[in-house]
């Protein structure tokens, strides 16, 4: 298939970026990223600099890949990361626009690659259970109902890609943050610190420059792991409880 690609090129965070147009011949069996590999091999053979894009596992699990394709984070296919997207989803003759995540908290590094260390900072603020190695009791000492475990698991499958932020008109990281708050807060091991956790993670989120959540639901729609927006409701409940119950108040 013959395709026209309009690819975002930008040298660094300060530089002004622009679209560059390329023609690519692809096969429908290729993944989207393999199609970009083909483009890059051509660019290199012409002694030009290849398009920089982030990727690693190419299996939809590491959360590294991040492209906005024709205006949609991770492209047109529901529940699919861009590395799992195949060219079958496109037609011969299509024009495809490829851009990086665009959000205040994700500055562009180069071309299609952005800096998502702000997400790490949110986890560092409290996205863990405070247990040192060697302090644990036997794994079966605390039974956890299958339903609760399964609900916690659903939240825990977040891959930290940031598509929710890119999709959100406010650039909010609520879905990401709530997924971790819910995962840990649902489990008896994580419940103990739940109030402190939700407060510091939410504060950190604000500090990193993510926007406010106004319940547009765009995050859930574009999340490749289909993380449920109900996690945000859970976060809000925990947050309110922590604020009302807190001795210092707000």
């Amino acid at each position: 298939m013959n395709l026209t690609l309009k690819v975002w090129r930008q040298n660094n965070a300060q530089a002004k970026g622009q679209f560059e147009t390329h023609q690519v011949v692809a096969s429908e069996h290729m993944s989207f990223l393999e199609m970009l590999d083909v483009l890059n091999e051509t660019l290199i053979s012409e002694k030009k600099s290849p398009v920089v894009f982030a990727h690693d596992c190419r299996e939809g699990i590491c959360g590294t890949c991040n492209l906005v394709i024709n205006g949609r984070a991770h492209g047109p296919q529901k529940g699919t990361t861009v590395c799992q997207l195949h060219m079958r989803a496109f037609k011969d003759g299509d024009t495809i626009v490829v851009e990086p995540w665009r959000a205040a908290a994700f500055p562009v590094i180069k071309d299609l690659m952005v800096d998502r260390s702000s997400l790490d900072k949110i986890i560092q603020a409290g996205g863990y259970i405070s247990v040192n190695t060697g302090q644990a009791q036997d794994a079966n000492d605390i039974p956890i109902g299958k339903d609760v475990a399964s609900q916690a698991f659903d939240a825990a499958t977040c891959i930290g890609c940031g598509a929710c932020v890119a999709a959100c008109p406010n650039g909010s990281a609520m879905l990401f943050t709530s997924a971790k708050v819910a995962h840990l807060g649902l489990l008896p091991q994580g419940e103990v610190e739940a109030e402190a956790r939700v407060q510091s993670m939410v504060n950190q989120m604000d500090e990193e420059g993510f926007g406010m959540c106004s319940n547009t639901g765009a995050c859930e729609a574009e999340c490749p792991k289909e993380i449920s927006i109900s996690n945000i409701a859970m976060l809000n409940r925990q947050y309110m409880a922590s604020v009302l119950g807190s001795k210092t108040g707000v």
Binding site: C57, E59, C62, G63, Q84, H86, I123, Q124, Y128, K146
Partner: protein
């Protein structure tokens, strides 16, 4: 060089406990003065960095990824073993030890493997306490499944995402230590050299990938947890950026590479579909519980399928060769990974492959649909169901069990595996070889330690399913925090190591010169094209089956490729900027030297064992070990012209060496 494994004295099952309780300790006030560098933050590295931070050491952790959460460990699917015996099915530390030794075809060290089995139980406790959402039964207790041809259910799992959940657990613990200031985290920093002072590992040179700047980091010791080197084959199930550079630069500084030829080739991966292909995807081993592997009996039929004139459905039962069931009636489709992989290769070499490339076999669920369909119809009270109803019900059962895998298969191949039999082919998956380490996980370079897939320690010539996650976490959480004290307790009087030492400047200059050299070649071929060619040589001559003649030819070809690379590679841009092509170029250069060493190791080992199959050493078509002459670890010292092998003899006091038979 004499290789001293430093195994503690005493009975096998007491070695670790006794050693641990009598080893030298570093007092808390001294820990605060000691710096440790941990390179790699996958399962092994993140676990180690977090735990060492908790203990009070000053830790600097490095990853070339943009975050510790992205390491290749995240992709592990199936599960993690532990000798918990929660199922009361006769599991024990000894049984896990024994299965691992036997599975490794008697080419690993007894004392290390026993320790692994012992600490496996603590890992599960630790992970549950961190909030890892393992699968559970209705009663709320942990669930297990069986895996990899062993007879007990000892595998803990988190759906098909066990690696992800374990890594996130370790990442979260690491994040906590970062927040507490005990670990300084350096993302997007790639270690490019090891710095030694007076023979001891005292620091690294790392490149800040965003700026291209080379930076010096000093510490009292260095821990490498930088993963495996399966990508030397170009195509593998490993993540795209997994590479050997950290280990290899250590080898160039005198560390030894042990058993590099032991490669695990996984039988059930989605086949290669074209030249553009960048990586291969694993289909979990669990599918072989219900799928039957076959190829057409007649080459004409295979040809027709390859050309798209027929599909698997057009081949009548009588014309199908269920070759695993035929060759291995006792284990059938459930033979171990190495055996299943080689049998698929034999079938395709005979011209019976079923993909356009000729390199694929069928994994067929039709009889599972029927079997499950019938029993489901029965339990639903449907009398005399017709064939269509049975198949429909059967497909539902299979969907419940493997829905996500079937979906992934369809996304990648574009073919519906409920309608047409799946096509699979073996692919490189894991490397048992790695840096040589003693019982303390210390390499032959004092103060340099290696953990996880980067070392060679526990899996011998073949790794059992669900044992890599166990080993990485054992090393990181429960072994290195103790054994590192053996070295560090001798260092409490050592002043802070400073990067102003001349050794750092020398290493920095050398690294800079090498990067500049790559840029200056300004040749005509891309880095990727060299990597692809290297991969093909490795796969053709040092892949699933090897022979002396091919290995010699392969070595020659690699040497020529290396020479061509250093003359004609093209790396765009400069060394002082963010430059992904330059990163890749350095990694491919190292892969070429490693590849040559792998070939030499395969040539040296005149026997077939585990993942290493030499066509000359077989009996009735099956692998034939030679215990008399080859019960040793081969540890290679790099030399540009003629690498040298050092040997550590393996002694087995607690198990009897037997032939693995699956007939």
């Amino acid at each position: 060089m004499k290789l001293d494994a430093k195994e503690p004295a005493g009975e096998l099952d007491e070695k670790w406990t006794k050693y641990r309780s009598t080893m030298n300790l570093v007092a808390p006030n001294n820990k605060r003065r000691i710096d440790i560098i941990v390179v790699g933050t996958g399962l092994a590295g993140a676990a180690a960095a977090a735990t060492l931070g908790e203990l009070g050491y000053n830790v600097k952790a490095f990853t070339f990824h943009d975050s510790p959460r992205r390491a290749h460990s995240i992709a592990a699917q199936g599960g993690i073993n532990a000798a918990k015996n929660y199922q009361n099915d006769g599991d024990s530390v000894y049984r896990l030890f024994y299965d691992t030794i036997k599975g490794g075809d008697y080419r690993s060290r007894e004392s290390n493997v026993h320790r692994l089995a012992e600490v496996s139980r603590n890992i599960i406790d630790q992970c549950v306490a961190q909030g890892v959402p393992f699968a559970r039964e209705y009663g709320g207790l942990l669930a297990n499944r069986s895996f990899g041809g062993v007879q007990v259910s000892r595998t803990f799992y988190a759906r098909g995402q066990t690696g992800q959940q374990l890594l996130l657990g370790a990442y979260q613990s690491l994040s906590r230590q970062i927040a507490l200031g005990n670990v300084e985290m350096y993302n997007r920093h790639e270690m490019l050299d090891l710095v030694k002072i007076d023979g001891k590992a005292r620091g690294i040179i790392a490149r800040n990938l965003l700026t291209g700047k080379l930076e010096k980091f000093a510490a009292h010791c260095v821990v490498l947890a930088t993963g495996g080197y399966g990508n030397v084959f170009y195509l593998s199930t490993n993540a795209m950026t997994s590479n050997v550079t950290a280990s290899w630069r250590a080898v160039r500084k005198g560390a030894l590479m042990a058993n590099p030829c032991y490669t695990q080739i996984h039988p059930t991966c989605i086949p290669v579909s074209g030249d553009y292909q960048s990586k291969l995807t694993l289909m979990s081993e669990s599918l072989r519980n219900d799928g039957r592997v076959w190829v057409p009996k007649k080459v004409e039929d295979a040809k027709a399928i390859q050309q798209g004139k027929k599909t698997g459905l057009d081949i009548p039962e009588a014309d199908r060769d269920y070759y695993l069931e035929r060759r291995y009636p006792a284990f059938g489709n459930l033979v171990p990974r190495d055996v299943a992989s080689r049998a698929a290769k034999v079938a395709c070499d005979e011209g019976k492959g079923v993909a356009p490339t000729g390199l694929a076999v069928f994994l067929d669920f039709a009889s599972a649909f029927e079997r499950y369909g019938k029993s489901k119809a029965l339990s639903a009270g449907i009398n005399n169901p017709d064939k269509a109803t049975i198949t429909k019900l059967g497909k539902e059962v299979i969907e419940e069990k493997y829905g996500n895998l079937f979906q992934m298969y369809e996304k990648i191949s574009g073919e519906n595996p409920y309608e047409y039999p799946m096509k699979i082919y073996p692919a490189v998956h894991y490397t048992m070889g790695g840096l040589w380490v003693d019982y303390n996980l210390e390499t032959n370079v004092p103060g340099l330690f290696a953990l996880g897939e980067a070392n060679f320690s526990d899996h011998g010539a073949n790794r059992l399913g669900a044992s890599a996650l166990m080993q990485g976490l054992a090393d990181g959480y429960f072994v290195i925090p103790y054994t590192i004290g053996q070295f560090l307790s001798q260092e409490i009087r050592t002043e802070k190591i400073e990067t102003s030492a001349p050794e750092f400047e020398v290493a920095l200059k050398e690294t800079k010169a090498q990067l500049q050299k790559l840029i200056d070649i300004k040749g005509n071929q891309s880095v990727e094209s060299f990597h692809k060619r290297l991969g093909k040589i490795m796969w053709d001559y040092c892949g699933m089956a090897r022979n002396a003649e091919g290995l010699k030819k392969g070595r020659q070809m690699i040497r020529e490729l290396r020479a061509e690379f250093w003359k004609d590679v093209f790396v765009p841009g400069t060394a002082d900027e963010f430059n992904t092509e330059l990163e890749k170029a350095g990694r491919v250069a190292d892969f070429m030297e490693l590849g040559e060493t792998m070939i030499l190791d395969a040539l040296d080992r005149n026997e077939s064992c585990g993942g290493h199959f030499r066509e000359e050493y077989t009996e009735n078509g099956e692998a034939k070990r030679n215990d008399e002459d080859y019960t040793y670890v081969a540890a290679w010292e790099w030399d540009d012209n003629e690498p040298i092998v050092h040997k550590e003899a393996l002694t087995f006091k607690n198990v009897e060496l037997k032939t693995r038979s699956y007939k």
